[in-house]
Each structure stands twice: as C-alpha cells, then as structure tokens.
C-alpha cells in the first residue's frame, strides 16, 4: 500500500517535470499557426520557418561558436588548474580550489553584475570576448571538479614509471596522463558546452548590443508573441543539450572500459 503511494507520487513528480517539455516538443510539430492546443495536424513547417529566420540562425551560430570556444578554453584551463592543484604542493591549495569553485556557489545574477561593474570600473566596454570570459568563469568550476576527481585516481606511480623509462615530463603528460584523463576531459568539455549553450542570466548582462545567443533570442521573441517557431527552437535546444551529453557519456564510458579504469 505504502509502496503504491510512493510509486504514484514518483510518477506525478516526473510528469510535473517532463510534461511541459513534452508539450513543447509535441506542439513544435503542430500545423496550426497558433502555438497551442488543439493540434490541427502534424507538420514540420515551424522547423522550416526557423531555418529561414536569419535572426535565429545568427543566434544559433553565435551560441555554437560561444559554446565551443568556452568548452575549449575551460577545458584547457581546467586541466592545467587540476594538474597544479593535484600534482604539486602549492601553498594555499585549499583556498585556490575554493575560489575556483566559487562561481557555482555565487548566484549567477550577482556574478554577472559583479563582472559588469568590474569592467565598468576598468573602463572596458562589453564585447564578445567579455561574454566568452564570463562563460569561461562560469563553466570552469564544473571542468575542474570532474577533472580533479579523475586525476586523483590516476596513480603518480604510472607517471613516474613513464619518466623512468625516458619520457620527459611533457611527453609523459601527453602519452600517459592525458589519455587516462580523457573521459573526464570529454565530460568537462561537454558540461562547459551545454552550460554555455543554455545560459541566459549571465549572457543578458554581458552580451554587447546586436549579439544574441539562442536563449536571449527566444527571450526577446517571447516578449512580442508566443510563436510556434519557439516551440521548434525549443525542441532543437532539447535535442542538443540532452543528446550531446548522452553521446558524450557513452563515448566516455567506452573509453574508460577500454583503458580499464
């Protein structure tokens, strides 16, 4: 009896969480020109409209570029920071770790305003570079957390063995450490990409005039009307932000199985 109640309750929670998303996906295939029920037929016309909407395609390209650059920069910085924090005895290591993780703990709005005020103080205007920097600050903690956890599990002995066999520290990093770290690097990069791709709060504060990312584009379109193409855009976003991490996880798992870790 008790279990049945729990089961029903669980199902309700899941419905509450996923039903709105399902509705968006479903309505994106609605032939009706209003983005609401009842559905009048199945159609992909809103995806075509989306494809032909220059503003949205531009926002899409911006988001992809921003996401990829954020992922690359965050991953490189994250790996370097993790190596320093795990492999070397740095004074104030705990403090540095806390500072690097802090952006997760600080409310995003506060972080966004802070960065903006700071740049105002330095008399530097908004730019794409600033937006990118903001995204890197915001995604770096995730990369560091994932990479650090993995790095701790890679025994120092393995690297020492490589060194003793004649590989320089740099060669050891690329031949041993990095391949063993790869699942975490991939996961960290994916995290960074999806978080950047999704982000709206920080982006609204940091983006220079005339540049829109997909979330900010949707936001501004919503202020005018609820167009069915937003549903289509939402569906594309869901596929990207859910699908990519899943593929990434699958790749990471197969890499990890192969290397026996």
């Amino acid at each position: 009896m008790g279990w049945r109640l729990i089961r029903i309750y669980t199902i309700l929670v899941y419905l509450f969480m996923f039903l709105p998303i399902a509705v968006v996906v479903l309505l994106s295939f609605n032939a009706n020109q209003f983005g609401s029920f009842p559905m009048t037929g199945l159609s992909t016309r809103w995806f075509e409209v989306l494809w032909n909407n220059d503003a949205i395609m531009r926002a899409f390209r911006t988001s992809i570029t921003l996401g990829l650059m954020t992922a690359v920069i965050s991953t490189v910085l994250g790996v370097l920071a993790s190596l320093a924090l795990v492999r070397y005895k740095i004074p104030g290591r705990n403090l540095i770790t806390t500072l690097l993780i802090a952006p997760i703990l600080v409310p995003e709005v506060v972080l966004a305003v802070a960065l903006l005020l700071f740049l105002n103080f330095l008399d530097i205007g908004k730019s794409f570079t600033l937006l990118l920097a903001g995204h890197v600050i915001f995604t770096l903690p995730f990369v560091i957390l994932v990479v650090q956890a993995r790095l701790v599990s890679i025994k120092r002995d393995v690297e020492e063995a490589a060194l003793s066999l004649g590989a320089s520290p740099m060669q050891t990093f690329f031949a041993i450490t990095l391949p063993l770290l790869m699942p975490a690097v991939a996961a960290g990069g994916l995290f960074a990409f999806t978080i950047s791709f999704d982000d709206i709060t920080g982006t609204l504060f940091w983006k220079p005039g005339g540049i829109e990312t997909v979330p900010t584009q949707i936001f501004s379109m919503l202020r005018n009307s609820i167009s069915p193409e937003i549903n289509a855009l939402g569906t594309v976003m869901i596929v990207l932000t859910v699908g990519l991490p899943l593929i990434g996880a699958a790749i990471a798992r197969s890499l990890a199985t192969r290397s026996g870790a």
Partner: protein
C-alpha cells in the same frame, strides 16, 4: 668504479630528517637490498637514486657520473613499483616498448627486444592483452620486462613482491633473482621483508630511522648483527645482559648469571672493545632443547623450564625460562614437541653467540 655511489646523503622534509648522512657504494652487477621497517628511509633513498626526490645534501653518482642535477628521464634507470604501475590504456607489448620509443630504437629491433623481454619473464604470448586482463603476478612480470628492456644502468625495485600473495611471492622471488642474474644488471631492491632480503641479496643494507645499521652479505648480517636493532629485526634473537670479563687471548670471556662461562671467538664481537657490560646475542634456532639430563657433548648447557609452546607443524617456538631470563628457541620437531612446564636442558655452541657493546638508550 661503483655502479651507484652515495656520499653523505641527507634528506630532510621540513624539520624531519628522513635520511642521515648516508654513504654507500654499490658494485656493478650486484643485487643490493635496502632492508628496514617502514619509515626507515629505504624508499626515500631509492627515490633519490631514481631522481624522484632531490637529496638535501650530498652527492649521488651513477657509473661514476654525478647525477644530482640529471632529471629522472635522463638517468637510464629501470623502476618497478609495488603496485606494478603499468599503463592501463596500453597493451602489454606497448607497455614494454614504451621506453624504447624514447631511445631511437628502430621498429624491427624494438619488436625483437620486446619479444625477448617477454620471453625472459616467461610471458611470451601476452603482448596483445591489456594489463587489467592479467593477474597480479603477471602484471609484475610485465612491469619487470618493461624496466629491463631499456637495458638500464641500474634496476630499482620498490617492494615489488609486497602486493602478491604468499605462494606467488616465493615463486616471484626465485624468478626475479634468476632474471637479475641472467642479465647481470645492478639492482637495488627495497623491502621490509627479511626473508626476501636474505634469499636474494649479494649485500644487505639494514636501515633504521634514516641511518644505516649494518652493511654486509646476508649470512654476515644474519649471523653477526652489528647492532641490537639488526639482531632484533632479522630473525628471532635472544638479547641478554652480560659482562665481558676478559679479552685476553683469542676469545672473549662472557659472564652472565645462571649460565656457565661463555668464551666466544673475537670475530663474533668485533665491536666490543674491552671488559664491561655487553649484550649477548643468540639466535632462537641456535638454542636446542634436549630432554633433562642429556649429556652436553661439548656444547654449553643450562637447565630451563618450558613456559609456552607455539606449535608450527614442522617446528615449534618455545618460550623458556633460564633463571631470571626469558628466552625463545625455535627447534625442528623430531617426535613430539616439549610440553609446557617440561624441564629441559638448553644446549648451544659458544661460537653461535655474539656480543654487542651496550647501546646508550637513545
């Protein structure tokens, strides 16, 4: 010219001194063991030879060349770890070939060398496997093959047998010694296990608290311990307070209450300098329990009472009381072990005794 030479090596970690003023010459082709309990500085010493730690003071030379400033990857050393440290993402063959990649060895020759190394460790067919598919013993053999394929100047082994289970450890001990002898590589072996040290070494360096206690061949270290620590650490020993009464002539006369006068050869007490208090050392297996009244037959003999018996199948360890002294004896069991409470005659040869100067308690 020594293969490895340490002169006045000191290693400090902050206020803690891990190795005190250590000097050591390791002969080309020899198998040398650093033996001691954990924290005695043996691994620290090995890591300094490897170049994984820098000595605070002193010089390290390999084949006559000072290497203090030579980083580990340019020292041409073979290193084997307790937990194997194979590269999990590389096959066995790739693991073994790893060092050759950095030595400009042509591909064909590299393949031949890898095959020869796998042959030497008796695992010629496992080249395509991944380390996780191998047992612990196999992994350790591969680690050894990987270390020797580069023809290192010195092979450094850091407790390589400690992670293996008991039976396998004995097999690997024999195997390791065979491989070392067949290629004749200078080997420095670190262990806390006296059996391994005694079985494998040409020379044992017993260490305690960052200091060298004794350097010598296994038999020498075992039979003539230079310090109380060595006497206690290797095997089961009895240490008794005695007095050196007389050093005239070739023998040293020792007196201790309840025992007949013991005259031991000079070379059994090289560090005793004159009459006065000394420590008498006798190994547990050199004390023979005989039924009460058995004629001494040229041996020294004292009456004793068995207080406790630790039965071990083929042998037994007896805790016996001789006057005020509690002693232990390990004897093979011929018929039945002596029972607790039995009155026995404890017999031993004078030349199985050794004497040490009394160490000031530190």
């Amino acid at each position: 010219m020594s293969a490895v030479s340490l002169s006045n090596i000191v290693k400090r970690f902050g206020d803690y001194t891990a190795v005190h003023q250590m000097s050591l010459e390791i002969e080309e082709g020899s198998f040398v063991t650093l033996l001691g309990p954990s924290g005695c500085g043996k691994t620290t010493t090995l890591r300094m030879i490897a170049g994984l730690l820098d000595p605070t003071e002193g010089e390290i030379a390999i084949k006559g060349k000072r290497v203090n400033d030579v980083p580990i990857h340019k020292r041409n050393l073979g290193l084997v770890f307790q937990n194997y440290a194979l590269f999990p993402h590389k096959t066995v063959a790739e693991n073994v070939a790893f060092g050759l990649n950095y030595r400009n060895v042509p591909k064909d020759e590299a393949r031949r060398k890898v095959a020869a190394a796998l042959e030497l460790v008796q695992l010629p067919d496992l080249g395509a496997r991944y380390p996780k598919e191998l047992s612990g013993g196999q992994q350790q053999r591969i680690a050894l093959a990987r270390a020797i394929v580069i023809e290192p100047d010195v092979l450094l082994l850091d407790e390589p047998l400690s992670a293996l289970d008991a039976n396998l450890r004995e097999d690997m001990r024999v195997e390791l010694k065979r491989i070392q002898q067949s290629i004749g590589v200078t080997t420095v072996f670190v262990t806390h296990d006296q059996t391994e040290a005694l079985a494998m070494s040409d020379q044992i360096i017993v260490m305690s608290e960052g200091r060298v206690e004794q350097v010598g061949a296994p038999e020498e270290v075992y039979n003539t311990p230079a310090t109380e620590f060595v006497a206690k650490f290797l095997g089961a020993s009895n240490l008794l307070s005695a007095r050196c009464a007389d050093m005239a002539g070739g023998d040293i006369a020792l007196e201790l209450p309840g025992f007949p006068k013991i005259a031991i050869p000079r070379d059994r007490a090289p560090r005793v300098s004159g009459p006065g208090p000394v420590r008498l050392v006798i190994r547990a297996e050199k004390l023979h329990l005989k039924a009460e009244g058995t004629p001494a037959d040229g041996l020294l003999s004292v009456d004793a009472v068995v207080e406790n018996v630790d039965y071990q199948g083929q042998s037994a360890r007896y805790f016996v009381r001789v006057g005020d002294h509690q002693m232990q004896a390990i004897n093979m069991i011929e018929d039945h072990p002596f029972a607790t409470g039995a009155k026995v005659s404890l017999q031993f040869r004078a030349r199985d005794c050794a004497a040490l100067p009394v160490e000031s308690p530190s």
